[in-house]
């Protein structure tokens, strides 16, 4: 009787996973279908759930934008490149200067250490909208609007506190004994950070880099306000610009959406192991 009941239970649980999987994959399927369709097929009623004449033309137009292609693919090609540049720069700066700060805050007792920690946690609670006006006023005075540098600087407001907080959580797990041994051997603080802590915390650094990149890649509000020309416009802004216009090349836009979603999705799937540990480390853990 027991194995029979166990199989029934397994089957019941398995059947429960099906609606969850359907909920997850149905929207994605629709997005993919649209990106592989021709404009004509997309407007079919009832909709074609799988394209009958699938085409990669929408993607080809973005990767090899010819003058003949419409503005959508040409804009996307540049916007995706801008996104890559900006998110990479933000990630690099955050890891470089953030890891130094995170180490000092975790391991070296000094005046105001606690105060700085609380300040960093607090600054993560401040919404972007409360910082945008002064940043916008300064950026327009210095004529930095529509330059990638203004986004890189603005993104520091959320990315840097986040990265420091996350790396601090990871550095905390490095055994102090390792450092003490190195100190006795005459290694100084910077040497310890470089040769002892960093190598042990590599998974944490990867996780932090991934999350910082994802945050910067996902950002929309600053990008919407600071960029409008092709010089700095990011992928989310390009999507937002096109979505309201029905005359626009929708299949091309959906292909752009898929391309904008691919880097974070691939990163998330590859570094699956780090996603969950990063989620909790990045949370309000004190």
């Amino acid at each position: 009787m027991i194995p029979y009941r166990r199989i029934l239970r397994k089957l019941g649980l398995f059947l429960l996973t099906l609606p969850v999987l359907a909920f997850i994959f149905f929207p994605i399927l629709w997005l993919f279908t649209a990106s592989l369709s021709t404009q004509v097929e997309l407007f079919a009623i009832p909709p074609h759930w799988l394209p009958q004449h699938p085409t990669f033309q929408n993607y080809l137009d973005i990767f090899f934008p010819s003058q003949a292609a419409s503005t959508v693919p040409r804009t996307f090609a540049i916007a995706l490149l801008n996104s890559i540049k900006i998110a990479s720069a933000v990630t690099l700066i955050c890891i470089l200067i953030g890891s130094l700060a995170a180490y000092a805050l975790v391991r070296i007792p000094f005046r105001f250490n606690r105060a700085i920690q609380i300040g960093i946690l607090g600054s993560r609670m401040i919404p972007e909208v409360s910082l945008i006006l002064p940043l916008f006023i300064v950026a327009s005075t210095l004529q930095l609007i529509n330059k990638p540098i203004v986004l890189i600087i603005a993104y520091m407001s959320f990315a840097l506190p986040y990265a420091i907080w996350m790396m601090a959580a990871f550095f905390q797990t490095v055994p102090v004994e390792l450092e003490d041994a190195a100190r006795i051997d005459g290694c100084n603080r910077l040497g310890i950070l470089r040769w002892i802590v960093m190598p042990v915390a590599v998974p944490g650094l990867i996780s932090t880099a991934m999350f910082t990149f994802l945050l910067a890649w996902d950002e929309f509000f600053y990008a919407l306000i600071f960029t409008s020309t092709l010089a700095a416009k990011t992928a989310p802004v390009a999507i937002a610009e096109f979505i309201g216009r029905y005359a626009v090349n929708i299949t091309g836009m959906m292909a752009g959406g898929v391309l904008a979603a691919l880097p974070p999705v691939i990163l998330g799937l590859i570094f699956q192991r780090y996603v969950v540990s990063g989620m909790t480390a990045g949370a309000v853990k004190g």
Binding site: K10, L13, F14, T17, L21, P27, I28, W30, L31, F43, I45, I97, L100, A101, A104, I108, P109, F110, N113, G119, I126, P127, V129, S130, I132, L133, P134, I137, S140, S157, L160, N188, R189, L190, L193, F220, F221, L224, A235, P236, I239, A240, G244, I250, M254, G257, A260, A261, P264, V265, L267, L269, Q272, V275, V276, S277, T280, A283, V284, G286
Partner: protein
């Protein structure tokens, strides 16, 4: 007295001071950046909220004291917007927590394909907010959308429905899109917490005759508390400042029915050219966000509970 300071102690002290100096060197670059892009702007915003400040570089600002705040709280739109934002926050975070907990439980009981399910959850979470919004806007499309197509083929509707133009549906449809995007975050956090729980307690309770529901309610749920709180804090603070997804799916429509508090601030500061009002609003959002976080941390979050 001076004699009691042994050479050893003196050396120790100087090492500490040396350490402190190094610490400041390490912290300084980050500190300067953070002060420059968060502390200074928030103070500026606070100051700006006391001025009548029309957009434009040559516009004159005049001091109005609490005038902007009074204008804001006397405006019915403000309270309606707060109400809508609260509705969005409570319903979406509530759904995400319930669904997330359910799915975490499901994965924890290891049905066939649970690894695949766990991996799949990463996809919606990783899809950028704007792509998610564009995707759902397209699903809800009145003329060619998947939702209309699906309901029609199932025979549930006779004509295509302009979903996003229905005043009472729009906000709920945005919530559905947000749940798709963020429920995996909650599910993954809770699932990893479930995996670390000791099983002895529940086994002992089962021996003592506690049924599954009792075991869940009085043993598993209390042990999950820290993880649930992490999810709750992160999601609530995030949901309250929602903007992107409403901007992309409905542009605030129909008839302002999906304008959230951040959206209202955006309108004032960048569309209506009322920077003073925008500053006052955004400062109120900050105060609310920080208060909410502090309340959560103080009253719900006990440090000793987190490992």
């Amino acid at each position: 007295m001076a004699a009691s300071t042994s050479p050893l102690r003196k050396r120790h002290l100087s090492l500490r001071q040396q350490d402190a100096r190094i610490a400041w060197m390490l912290v300084l670059p980050s500190l300067v950046v953070i002060l420059g892009v968060t502390l200074w702007p928030i103070l500026y915003t606070f100051a700006l909220s006391f001025y009548h400040a029309p957009t434009g570089i040559n516009q004159v600002r005049t001091f109005v004291g609490f005038g902007n705040y009074l204008t804001v709280i006397r405006d019915r739109t403000f309270w309606e917007t707060i109400g809508r934002t609260m509705y969005f926050t409570v319903v979406s975070v509530g759904l995400e927590l319930m669904l997330g907990l359910g799915i975490a439980q499901l994965i924890h009981s290891k049905p066939w394909g649970w690894r695949f399910l766990r991996l799949s959850l990463i996809i919606p979470w990783a899809v950028p907010t704007i792509v998610n919004g564009a995707m759902w806007r397209w699903i809800y499309s009145a003329d060619f959308g998947a939702l209309n197509g699906l309901l029609m083929q199932l025979g549930l509707i006779k004509h295509y429905v302009p979903w996003l133009s229905l005043p009472n549906a729009a906000m709920n449809l945005i919530i559905l899109a947000d749940v798709w995007h963020m429920m995996p975050f909650v599910a993954l956090i809770l699932q990893s917490a479930l995996a670390t729980l000791p099983e002895e307690l529940e086994e002992a309770a089962a021996v003592d005759g506690a049924n599954a529901l009792q075991r869940f309610w009085s043993i598993r749920l209390p042990m999950l508390r820290p993880a649930i709180l992490i999810a709750l804090i992160v999601r609530t603070v995030d949901a309250f400042r929602v903007f992107d997804i409403a901007y992309i799916i409905t542009n605030g429509g129909p008839a302002f029915r999906t304008v959230t508090i951040t959206y209202l601030t955006y309108f004032n500061a960048f569309a209506y050219g009322k920077q003073g009002i925008g500053a006052a609003l955004s400062f109120l959002i900050s105060v609310f966000s920080i208060t909410m976080a502090v309340i959560f941390i103080r009253f719900l979050y006990r440090p000793e509970e987190t490992q």
